[in-house]
Symmetry: C2
Subunit: 502 residues, 2 copies
């Protein structure tokens, strides 16, 4: 068998695995969007079969052999094929370190933990979740040992979500971020000028809200012939191919901004996935290199663009047309101020731009301590509540609205949280670079013209796929390493003006 | 390994295969109902992977070994387990006779034929489809040889759709059916009394039509918490588990009856699939024994119940409420007459109860002749048009509305058509038996009370699953073999009254 044959056979195997994963994604989308309640049990079994099959096919020793053979003669391959082979080998080596029996143990523990978490949250009783959290921490520590790491065992887990990132680097970045965000939030809380919000207390028709989201999504460049928007309890983006990238949104008739910002956020994710190269279809190259990089796209669109004054100057008239009589006396400046109101809150997913990262850093500190063995799971509620009080000045009244609010730990997903904050930082850093290339970018936003914004993101981020890591993309595009500085400058400038801070 | 272990392992393997097939069904449903156009190419590849995997897993020699071992000690199994083992062996033996290379050849030919058929139909040019039809006939003949048969090679193909049925038996049944249906249709055409249809020419709101279908589906007993109804170009029923049985319907604002009868028809299929036994979930026993038996359920509900006078006496008021002012002057008798208007037509799927089976018998005669080598594919248009003229008095103006109208042959699905007519016959035969057990069944229909109808079907048909063949069910439940007589009696009685025939 010549070297090219090995590569070709490897690609065929990988395509089957990709198709199994894509099928699972369709089943998951359907589960959130369409499935009747009585379909749940069988759907769980169907998903389990697909994921077990995909994993088994991937970690088969013959795949390792094919990778080795293909690598022996990789000089015969194109650049892209070499990169794809490198990425395949990277995934294979990590997956192969996790034996099937361990996978199953983890999956079983996770399923039990998830059900316990649902229960614990409903009853607001951390003790119901505690034994499961302990098990998942201990399994995650074992997983870290199996995967191998330098420095903190947390690094091994973080790698799954933000390849190449480390606790040490996050400590530096978050260390620069936290005090200035806390200080800014405190100044805003004490500002005499607070946004007027009473106009929001109207009933905003679901249908009209959806029409507004569709208008904005189209303007952003989201291709509805290669996707669709539906409703679901928790908004998300998924794709089954570059030609089928779907988003969901959540509509609340009492919340004017909720569907719009959900849709812009998911639209940012979706533009990324619609922007991979056609020739990468069905391969690992048609993937984002990290969750942080993925999140940078949603945050850039949602916050830097969607929560900007030029955006509201442009879309206010569309909103007024859709909601006749309801917004006539509301100036774009008022909508802008309301969309950016700052209130330290209990719940991460409801947090504003000024305080959001603090929720993340709190979780990051607690979960690194858990994984490094410096904190007992039993001490989580006290540690959580103490940080919420000292960082955000918020008293946590119960576990449900405290340490039980997020699903992530019940999924054993330690290392996931930091990517949300990194998304904010990457987004600001990329936007700075974009602004250097397109100096009048905010004027374009003010005209609802996003073509060049999208083109810039396509060229510099989307079309790269997994050819580079997130860290490499940030360095190549912005000329420096990931940093808190651009985000802090953006935040402080924006809010100083908004709240008239000296 | 003890005998029970072999059976258990076999069941585990079969569950995986079932889950792969269920996943494929989700992807197909999504393709018809939701998928954006640009998702089509990748979706085709995803489905190909799932079906190739399911087939490869099923025909693995180790499955044959497990079946043999489990059978050696089948006396240790429960009755149901023994039946399930028998059915698994039946499917395995048939599947194992088709080598993977042949499957792939057939799939490739089918894909090409399907595209050619789309083109040929659009251009109404049979010659474009002819070479593909020839290939599919020849491949189907090869398939019949591989599968083995007694009598006609068509029997081998028919077995896939209507197990145990033969050309000889169909010749007898259809031979009794065709002349009397032709005679009845002719008398109706000459009847002086024809239904008044001008009231149908109004615009029937899509939303209200859907509301009416939902009302009727609920009354029939369709469980919306174990299914859902969506719109699609061609109505169909699919299931991913007993708890997730979905139907689609087609709504045309100019056609009052279209969505309603589509929904009742698919609802009849869906009630079957919601009616399998919970303990059969995920096994071959939670399947209908044949397409004809499946179709008997849709036809019984759609025609015998939905196109009955008591049905319209009951639902007329609901329809009037939904369409205020549009039906005030229309008596239930008029709706009933309109729902049963007879007009010999070109298109099978638009045919009425009196002529529908004739369309089927035409196709059956042509496709048996093709498979038996008695007719050249090139002679299909002439043979088709001649039969349409002599049987139905209809001149076929072009191939698109003639021999190119149906998708089936382009899928290489020879042997499928007869099941539609058998569905009509089985339905009438079963309804006779039901009427003996529930003498006031039509009075119940007239009150919109379907609970006992459904219970009877659940007990006698649905819950049986694949424990018996369709032929066995018909014999056990009705006391005689499949026959044209009950259907002819039903048809002649109904239409004699409707058209005031002497």
């Amino acid at each position: 068998m010549s070297n090219n044959d090995a590569y070709k056979e490897l690609q065929e195997r990988m395509r089957d695995i990709h198709n199994l994963r894509a099928a699972a994604a369709v089943l998951e989308w359907d589960m959130e969007v369409n499935m009747p309640p009585k379909g749940a049990a069988a759907r769980g079994r169907q998903l389990a079969t697909l994921s077990a099959l995909a994993h088994a096919q991937f970690i088969a020793p013959s795949v390792g052999t094919l990778i080795e053979r293909a690598r022996e003669h990789q000089d015969t391959l194109t650049d892209d094929a070499r990169v794809l082979l490198r990425e395949t080998a990277y995934d294979y080596q990590r997956a192969a370190r996790i034996p099937e029996a361990f996978m199953r143990r983890f999956a079983t523990a996770r399923a039990a933990a998830y059900h316990a978490w649902i229960d614990a949250r409903r009853q607001s009783k951390f003790s119901l979740f505690l034994p499961h959290l302990e098990t998942l921490v201990s399994l995650s520590q074992e997983k870290a040992e199996r995967l191998g790491y330098e420095g903190s065992p947390y690094n091994a887990l973080l790698e799954d979500y933000e390849r190449g990132m480390t606790v040490a680097q996050l400590d530096t970045i978050f260390g620069a971020l936290a005090p200035r965000q806390r200080a800014l939030a405190a100044r805003i809380m004490n500002a005499p000028q607070q946004p007027e919000l009473s106009w929001l207390e109207q009933t905003w028709s679901e249908e009209k809200q959806l029409a507004l989201t569709e208008r904005v999504l189209r303007d952003m460049g989201y291709a509805f012939d290669a996707g669709r928007q539906d409703k679901s309890a928790h908004p998300f983006t998924t794709n089954f191919s570059i030609g089928d990238v779907r988003i969901t949104t959540r509509v609340d008739q009492r919340a004017f901004f909720s569907a719009l910002f959900s849709s812009i956020h998911e639209g940012g994710h979706a533009l990324y996935e619609q922007g991979f190269r056609e020739e990468d279809e069905g391969t690992l190259l048609a993937e984002a290199p990290s969750l942080g990089m993925h999140e940078s796209q949603s945050r850039l669109w949602e916050n830097i663009i969607g929560r900007s004054l030029p955006f509201w100057r442009h879309y206010m008239s569309a909103a007024r047309e859709l909601f006749p009589g309801m917004l006539d006396s509301i100036a774009p400046e008022q909508a802008y101020a309301a969309a950016n109101r700052v209130t330290p809150s209990l719940i991460r997913v409801e947090a504003d731009e000024c305080t959001y990262n603090l929720h993340i850093i709190l979780r990051f500190e607690l979960e690194t301590a858990l994984i490094e063995g410096a904190l007992d799971a039993a001490d989580i509620p006290a540690a959580w509540n103490e940080k919420m009080a000292s960082w955000l000045g918020v008293e946590v009244p119960n576990d449900a609205d405290g340490c039980l609010q997020d699903i992530h730990w019940s999924h054993g997903a330690f290392g996931y949280f930091p990517t949300y904050a990194l998304g904010n930082l990457y987004g600001a850093q990329l936007f700075d670079a974009m602004s250097a290339d397109i100096p009048d970018v905010m004027e374009r936003v003010g005209r609802g013209e996003f073509a060049d914004v999208l083109r810039w993101l396509r060229d510099n981020v989307h079309s790269v796929g997994r050819r580079k890591t997130a860290l490499e993309i940030i360095e190549d595009v912005t000329g420096r390493q990931p940093s808190a500085a651009p985000f802090l400058t953006y935040l402080e400038t924006k809010y100083a003006a908004l709240y008239d801070l000296a």
